[in-house]
């Protein structure tokens, strides 16, 4: 068994899936390509594991995260997937400050491969806390109010119990949207969140937070730069709505501990695909539980990324919502049977082992624009 778990090959692929749609996260940007950077590890016994991250935004050229994996391939090949957390720890110690897309993807892919090799879904290896979790629709950002109100109606009709808007980030526009949502849905059961992509000034964030606290809003996410903990502390004191970090920039156990200890955030937010993988998430969940704060793991990405995060949410106690990119179809790549919203407004884990995703690797190889192969 031990030898069967040895990693014999690691591959990376970067491509723009045919079904993908260029997307904007906030109103001040042009639509950006949604490239997928995929990692694939193969074990001696034949089991394979996969993970992914997005590129195409903020100067992240296609292939940038595949290159990160290529740079550590010599340390990956020959390592035993039974000792995946040892490799992740070593790589993180060598890497310095995060976020760590390459290392995190490799960690998730090792958990996937390990779960397949030992015949269990990852969330059951982690603890098997539950079988399903409530979902919010995570929208793109729009330039007109009509588009926001239209997708709201559409996603509610589809059965989403909550919606998170990637906001326009024009302060007046955002306040108007909050007022419209409060007036239309303030008495209903549907919950809302907003994501400001770290683009507010402090005063804008206070005004927005105060407005949101009177409406059906669960949280205000990433109003300020992730690293500005002082401002987050002041904001969290000044408003009643829950304040969340972006979770993309300031990552790692020590940073999360600092933010939570100082009460910079009401909940902890991170993405296993850039914050040290599932091996690190196990400890982050312990930290959040000890600090008595809910966790809102990020799962905006393609299926491989959604699933890695979903397994932590299902395996361990503490996370409230699953983030589903909506519309979801462009982000279903590369799964043959993607995660789907159920009649309860929840998603469940696939029944298959590992992360439970079935990938058409031949198709991926055919479409890949950039390929790395440790065996080449």
């Amino acid at each position: 068994m031990a030898d069967d778990l040895d990693i014999t090959r690691v591959r990376g692929y970067a491509l723009t899936p045919e079904q993908s749609v260029p997307t904007r996260y906030h109103g001040r940007m042009d639509r950006a390509a949604m490239n997928i950077e995929l990692v694939r590890v193969t074990l001696a016994g034949g089991a394979e594991g996969a993970a992914s991250y997005l590129s195409g935004w903020a100067g992240r050229a296609m292939g940038c995260f595949v290159n990160e994996v290529a740079a550590i391939a010599e340390q990956i090949v020959g390592h035993n997937a039974g000792r995946r957390a040892a490799l992740t720890q070593t790589l993180l110690e060598e890497a310095g400050e995060g976020p760590w897309m390459g290392i995190s993807m490799v960690d998730c892919a090792m958990w996937d491969a390990y779960g397949r090799a030992v015949g269990q879904p990852v969330y059951r290896l982690l603890g098997g806390y539950r079988e399903r979790i409530p979902v919010y629709a995570s929208t793109e950002a729009f330039l007109t109010m009509e588009e926001y109100l239209d997708v709201t109606k559409r996603f509610i009709a589809m059965g989403y119990p909550a919606i998170k808007f990637h906001m326009n980030t024009d302060p007046d526009f955002d306040l108007e949207l909050v007022a419209l949502i409060t007036s239309a849905y303030g008495e209903g059961k549907v919950r809302f969140m907003t994501d400001q992509e770290q683009l507010c000034t402090f005063d804008e964030a206070v005004r927005l937070g105060q407005a949101m606290s009177k409406g059906p809003f669960d949280w205000l996410e990433a109003p300020l730069p992730d690293t500005d903990l002082d401002a987050y502390v002041a904001l969290n004191e000044a408003v009643d709505v829950d304040i969340l970090n972006a979770g993309n920039i300031l990552v790692g156990l020590d940073n999360w501990r600092e933010g939570l200890s100082r009460k910079a955030w009401s909940r902890l937010r991170f993405d296993v695909c850039n914050a040290g993988g599932i091996s690190t998430a196990v400890k982050a969940m312990g930290l959040a539980k000890a600090m008595n704060v809910p966790v809102e793991i990020q799962s905006f990405g393609y299926q491989t990324a959604q699933l890695a995060n979903l397994h932590v949410m299902l395996g361990m106690v503490g996370n409230t919502w699953f983030e589903h990119p909506a519309p979801s179809a462009p982000f279903d790549y590369p799964a043959r049977s993607p995660i789907a919203l159920d009649a309860l407004g929840c998603v469940s884990a696939p029944r298959e082992n590992g992360l439970g995703i079935e990938i058409d690797w031949a198709g991926v190889e055919q479409d890949a624009e950039i390929v790395f192969d440790s065996a080449a």
Binding site: R84, V118, G127, K283, G286, V317
Partner: protein
């Protein structure tokens, strides 16, 4: 969800192993008799998981009844695991700990560990690898009994060094003058080839702790354990300001995650001390290790007891990584009872990862059934 790993039977055994002499961990206490409490869970598909922990009662020359409150408590809550699945350990742990009113949480811990053991057996994986597999070997320290003379300590530690141990944790008389003399003598004799910890079982006051702690710092002790009552964070913080040796608590009385966080945030300790067999199990311990890691701390896990307790701590330390030492009670034979092949410390003072599935070994249940003074058998 497959129901193969649903628990259909829970058996509880309480034994007083004949190979364990009456014990005490300070010179100020009476001797106690040790009871080994074992939990054995059987799943619908026939796979089994197990766990164990010790309890004790005053030694009264064997006249009184043996300690049975731990097994009784296990009997009280074990029905809650019947029908639950090893696939949903985190949910079982949440349910049990939410309603737990026993700060020692031993029964809840054994249920959780046995479920993890069962799960890892179902995956045919050693538990430490299922947890992540950060390391496959860890240094052990010999956790000594209390001896009556300074000369006896010097000889005893010399024997440990000869057998390969590179560290020893001294349980002592807990009389500070006597303790300081003993520490100096042992260090003089063996300080070049051994490292030391001191455990005084919460029996010093602050002044004494500072006095002894200063000497431990000069002698570069690995840590000073349980000088003060676990919950006295104020005194612990004072002590840490005054001495330059790492301070850790006993870890027996503060078991909840919230208590551990309060101690850490209160600046009471340099590292955390707790153990999976009494703080709620592996599920709870994983969280404690996450909490500690986020503060740059290790969790020095307790494993003073029989093989089940040792193995649970060993797998956790190896799986999660932020634990520097494995506690091996000595004399080893005093606490080898459950297994035909107990985990062993090698000639370099190291203990290696078990290779079998789950905890890596299974007790000889027929023998334990025959020797148990108390048995419960619960079926779904």
């Amino acid at each position: 969800m497959s129901r193969d790993l649903d628990i259909v039977r829970a058996r509880i055994y309480a034994v007083t192993p004949a190979n364990t002499p009456p014990y005490r961990w300070t010179g100020q206490d009476g001797f106690v008799r040790i009871t080994d409490n074992l939990l054995r869970l059987t799943a619908a598909n026939g796979l089994e998981g197990w766990a164990s922990n010790t309890s004790n009662a005053p030694h009264d020359d064997g006249a009184g009844a043996p300690e049975r409150s731990a097994a009784d408590r296990l009997h009280e809550i074990a029905p809650q695991v019947l029908g639950a699945s090893a696939l949903e350990r985190e949910a079982v742990s949440e349910r049990l700990l939410r309603t737990c009113d026993d700060p020692r949480r031993r029964a809840e811990s054994l249920i959780d560990i046995a479920l993890w053991d069962l799960m890892a057996r179902a995956a045919n994986q050693p538990l430490w690898q299922m947890l992540g597999g950060v390391r496959d070997v860890i240094p052990a320290y010999a956790s000594t009994p209390v001896l009556e003379t300074v000369e006896a300590y010097v000889a005893y530690v010399g024997d440990l060094a000869e057998r390969g141990y590179r560290a020893a944790k001294l349980h002592t008389q807990c009389d500070p003058d006597w303790d300081l003399a003993m520490i100096d003598a042992v260090h003089d004799a063996h300080g070049k080839r051994m490292r030391f910890m001191l455990d005084v079982e919460q029996r010093y006051d602050l002044r004494t702790s500072v006095r002894v702690g200063q000497r431990l710092a000069e002698l570069e002790f690995v840590w000073f354990e349980a000088p003060l009552p676990d919950a006295d964070f104020v005194a612990y913080r004072e002590l840490r300001r005054a001495v330059d040796v790492p301070i850790i608590p006993a870890g027996n009385t503060l078991t909840s995650l919230e208590d551990l966080r309060s101690g850490i945030e209160g600046g009471a300790w340099d590292h955390v001390r707790t153990g999976p067999s009494h703080n709620g199990g592996l599920t709870a311990s994983i969280r404690a290790m996450g909490l500690a890691d986020a503060h740059g701390m290790t969790v020095e896990l307790q494993s003073y007891g029989y093989e089940g307790r040792k193995l649970a701590a060993l797998h956790l330390a190896l799986g999660l990584g932020n634990c520097d030492w494995f506690e091996q009670p000595v004399a080893e034979t005093d606490y080898n009872y459950e297994l035909a092949e107990p985990p062993v410390v090698d000639a370099s003072g190291l203990i290696h990862a078990p290779t079998g599935p789950g905890l890596g070994a299974v007790p000889d249940w027929e023998r334990i059934e025959a020797e148990a003074f108390l048995t419960f058998d619960l079926k779904d």
